[in-house]
Symmetry: C2
Subunit: 130 residues, 2 copies
């Protein structure tokens, strides 16, 4: 899997790394049980700090995307990611609210907003089929 980081944005590096791994799982480029590089080797490959990779991995572990074994190393969670529960929908809704509020202020209709979501969904699915 190819990881590209943007060092110029406000988005912290560990967040970018986390999101790209989550996107990799969504696109099925990263499959359950598949190994990821160790903290040390990923940090060296990307030319970033060990702690940055560690922070991303620890959060991914806590949120159930990966497992970190002393021997086997880092793997995508072999049972798959936990399905959305009520608490996930609450968090998702809280993250969508400000995006929707700003979109309403800027005259984006519900239809246009939903079309954009559809495009992004399709974009992930297309890649997971190819």
């Amino acid at each position: 899997m190819f990881i590209s980081l943007d060092l110029e944005t406000e988005e912290p590096i560990y967040t970018q790394l986390k999101q790209q791994i989550i996107e990799g799982i969504a696109k099925k480029e990263l499959k359950p049980g598949e190994g990821l590089p160790s903290v040390r080797s990923l940090a060296a490959d990307l030319g970033i700090n060990l702690h940055t990779v560690n922070k991303a991995y620890q959060q991914l572990k806590q949120e159930g995307f990966i497992q970190i074994h002393r021997q086997k190393g880092v793997v995508i969670h072999p049972d798959g990611v936990q399905k959305a529960d009520e608490s996930y929908y609450t968090t998702l809704s809280a993250k969508l609210r400000p995006l929707i509020a700003e979109s309403i202020c800027r005259d984006v209709s519900l239809d246009e907003f939903q079309k954009l979501c559809l495009q992004i969904y399709k974009d992930f699915e297309k890649r997971s089929e190819s």
Copy 2:
């Protein structure tokens, strides 16, 4: 308009303040040309730092939600907020991607995702009609 801040979340106070003002505009509780409290008085009312309010107001000004006049004080932009352009859609899309990627990992269908957006849109519109 009632502003409630959560001092326990990770979300910075200035971001919360900014988002609530944007939500107020989306719900039409705050109308074009309407005055907002001065930095000093809002900071005192909410019991937060002057700089926090100032940071929120400066960003709202930069993004075209409010105007800050030396004499008239702070007002919701009288011409309304600038409509979504291509650059807004690019930013919105970049913010939606990680939410959609995680939702796909957690087996949230496009239909469920769009229904959630619909609910939030309706929630804002209901309040703007009441």
